[in-house]
């Protein structure tokens, strides 16, 4: 179903490359000076926005046409009925035994584990009548299933005559029936009632709140605004769950002490933005009020967002894009060629780092998952919908560094494409060179690379989406608008390139692409 059309790689010689950055670590967060080690110079400031504009490759945004819509619309159809996998906590009735003793490999050590099976050993069975009593049981996880359902709805709504229309309606009917949604609501009631009030390593909050809740509200916002006979029925089925989640999410936002500023799916601004759509469509003033109040409380005083720390480091051994090391990203950087050495001796001011909230809290490795969005751009995009236009411009001037500055450089570059690395066979153990071991290592490396490509595609789309939204919040005459549009086209283009040829992200990347296409309109 995936169109195989390939555009020639119309990259300019000046394609922005983060080649040289790929092996380097991100800077420390916040306004604090760079990390002690693993630091590399940012490129020097450009003199003006005009100079930056000259350096950005002029990528024409692809049209959001029927063919692209079919591509994006076909992917959710492939995952909506694929069961979310059985929990990975070791267990089974017998529990771990000598016979199947855990293997202590580097991979096993890095695997997430909440201690399942230490004392209470679980035995899993598929929930009774899951296809009748649950709605979002496919696509890897709950919020991805909701997001994929939203993709199906959104595309059918925008392209009602798509060749995929019957197939899409068939899926939506199967998942959005009344019994499915009633079962969902019953499940969430039970989950909320059972929640453990003591925070612990194994349980940190209400299932799927806030991110999944926000997605469900986005789905309902889409259904509510679709004058279609079937959609009206689906919307009526979803409404009680949406109302419950809107209440719950509003309460959550009101009580939240500090926002999550990570680049992962638990980012607070991201969930706020999704839920705002619903609050507007539904006329839910209470939810809108809770979000706007919290957003102002958290973000209004923020200044100088650390865009310089948003450089992308590919976990799968990215070795840079295809454009070589020349171009905008590696412009005249002689000025700060030795800034890494300087940075090593720079004091790390924790009070200043924390002016934008409790910034002394460094993002924990793996906390909240891998980075799929730009914290700075996501916050800036949200605030365009929270503040009045004039107040927004003043706030944005304080919040984002000048786009031509070196500090903003990471967001002016397309993310480099990770390339395959020679698989590491039998690393850290006896040198198992059997054919099976080699084959397993190659397969694992391929999976890791595909997963990484999917993540970077989503990150590109998220950046592009935020840039479009920021541009919309500015007056058309603002010189930053044209820069933002050019940059968003660059990011989105890379996103589609990364997304092509891979099935690793089908459960969630299309939704990110479509959020961008939606913001573009």
């Amino acid at each position: 179903m995936i169109p195989t059309r390939r555009r020639p790689h119309c990259r300019f010689a000046t394609v922005v490359s983060v080649l040289a950055f790929a092996s380097l670590s991100r800077l420390a967060s916040g306004q604090q000076p760079p990390a002690r080690a693993d630091t590399t110079p940012l490129r020097a400031d450009y003199r003006s926005l005009g100079e930056l504009l000259e350096k950005i490759p002029n990528v024409a945004p692809s049209p959001f046409d029927e063919e692209r819509a079919m591509w994006l619309g076909a992917l959710p159809l492939a995952c909506l009925d694929r069961l979310q996998s059985r929990p990975t906590g070791r267990g089974g009735a017998a529990g771990p035994s000598r016979a199947n003793a855990p293997v202590d490999t580097a991979a096993a050590r890095n695997a997430p584990n909440n201690g399942a099976g230490y004392f209470w050993v679980p035995n899993y069975t598929l929930a009774h009548d899951h296809d009748r009593l649950r709605a979002f049981w496919g696509c890897t996880d709950w919020h991805s299933a909701v997001g994929s359902t939203w993709v199906a709805v959104r595309l059918l709504k925008s392209f009602p005559n798509t060749p995929l229309r019957e197939l899409t309606r068939e899926k939506l009917n199967a998942h959005l029936g009344k019994s499915n949604l009633d079962g969902e609501l019953a499940f969430f009631h039970a989950t909320a009632a059972a929640i453990n009030p003591i925070p612990s390593a194994s349980q940190t909050g209400l299932f799927e709140r806030p991110y999944g809740f926000a997605w469900l509200l986005e789905l309902q916002a889409e259904l509510r605004t679709w004058p279609d006979t079937q959609a009206k029925r689906w919307a009526a089925n979803v409404a009680p769950l949406a109302a419950w989640m809107a209440d719950s999410l509003g309460a959550y936002m009101s009580k939240l002490v500090e926002p999550v500023r990570s680049g992962a799916q638990n980012n607070t601004a991201q969930s706020m933005a999704l839920a705002l759509d619903y609050a507007q469509v539904d006329g839910d003033a209470k939810l809108r009020n809770a979000i706007v109040t919290a957003a102002r409380k958290f973000y209004l005083a923020d200044t100088a967002c650390a865009t310089q720390s948003e450089r992308v480091v590919s976990a799968a051994g990215g070795r840079g894009g295809r454009g070589g090391g020349r171009g905008a990203g590696r412009g005249a950087n002689a000025n700060n060629a030795d800034s890494a050495a300087v940075a090593a001796a720079t004091p790390n001011d924790l009070t200043a780092a924390a002016t934008a909230g409790r910034g002394a809290v460094a993002p924990a490795p793996g906390g909240g998952g891998p980075e799929i969005l730009s914290p700075c751009l996501t916050e800036a995009a949200l605030m365009s919908r929270v503040l009045e236009p004039r107040a927004y411009i003043a706030w944005l001037d304080r919040f984002l560094p000048p786009f031509q500055s070196g500090r903003f450089a990471p967001l002016t570059e397309a993310i480099s494409i990770p390339v395959a690395r020679a698989p590491t066979v039998a690393r850290g153990g006896a040198s198992d060179t059997s054919a099976a071991a080699i084959s397993a290592a190659i397969s694992a490396a391929a999976t890791a690379l595909a997963t990484e490509r999917a993540r970077l595609a989503a990150l590109s789309f998220s950046r592009a989406q935020s840039m479009e939204r920021i541009a919309r919040g500015l007056p058309a005459t603002d010189p930053r608008v044209v820069v933002l549009r050019r940059l968003s086209a660059l990011q989105a283009d890379r996103g589609f390139e990364l997304m092509r040829d891979d099935a690793a992200g089908i459960s969630w990347v299309p939704a990110q692409a479509l959020l961008y296409e939606t913001a573009r309109r």
Binding site: A35, Q84, G95, P112, G117, W120, A127, P197, V361
Partner: protein, 407 residues
Amino acid sequence: MMSTIHTMTVLTAFAAIAVATSPVAAQTALRGDSRVVKKAPEFGDLASFYASLPVVQPRALDRATAVQLSAMPLSCMDHPQPRPNTVPYLWDATYTPAADYETTRAFYGCYDWHSAVNSAWTLVRILKMFPDLPTAPAIRQKLNDHFGATNIAGDLEFMRGAGAFEVPYGYAWLLRLQYELRSWNDSDAVRWAANVQPMATYMSERMVTYLKALQQPVRTGVHPNTAMAMDNALGYARAFDPALEAAIRESAERLFKHDIRCNTAAEPGPSDFASPCLMEASIMGQLMDRAAFVPWLDAFLPQLYSAEFRPLTQGLGPEFVKNPAAVASKSHIVGLAFVRATSMGELANSLPPRDARVPVLRRLAAMQAATGFPLMGAVGYDGSHYYASWATTYLITNAQAPRGAVP
């Protein structure tokens, strides 16, 4: 969880003792997420600040206290950890206790793994100090049951396959436990130490890998805090494990040495049971030469009498515990009193004995601890499964001779 935190309550609730005796304490209020100090007396120097503090005698670790503190871990070591109570979405789960858990698991009580480990540590530490305590036979029996060779071997086998579970907090506590066992001249302890050693070796290696790979420290005031893990593991590392000691030193230097102006004004964070600023200062005090440490601390920690430091001079007391909705913070806030007191005591131990901050830190530590002790039973099992560990830690830190002091 953030949603259960009632910040207003946290910051406006102070220890009865501080409120009663100090005009300083009741003046700080929190609005939203920004700290506003209202009408707080300002102090121009340490002496006037010290003079304003209530006189609180530090509590000693006497026999009565030891019995009380040993009773808490005795009561939880065999209290099985709770059955997971999440409602499954798609995969229904039925749970049974691990087969033969009494012989294939060591730390299955006291709510969670790390609390079971630090409870065992508490029993070991107290028995070591008071071998003829009335509760001594019960303590020995409990330790024998849990430190059996098959218990530890089975536990280690599980942990080897459990990924990042309990890294670094639980691992560091296990190393602290093993330090006490190996440095104890007792025939039972020699056997227990031999049983625990493979697990300690494994966890020490994992800690080395973890610390070396860490690009930024975790600065939250809860379990993953990096400085706290270093602090708990340091005794074992120094005594028995040069590779771990080197990793701790190298990581602390890399991650903490350039830090300045720690943001004490923002403490405590939601649900904190430790002070990130004090924890970091405490570990650096133990690692750095005194000559280097004093200027580092001067740049790192705000003046003890400053408004920025004020939140750390105040205890959080019974008013807090009356709020029935804030169970999560309730349990941690009492722990916070002991952990802060420990860090302050450690800091006082690391400074030159004549440093003017030493008596102030000791007084502040005593004030913190004095808010904690009356509340040890206030939140039931949510607190009783781990308070004794941190109370004991405070008491032994407080009784410790300052570094370099002539005995």
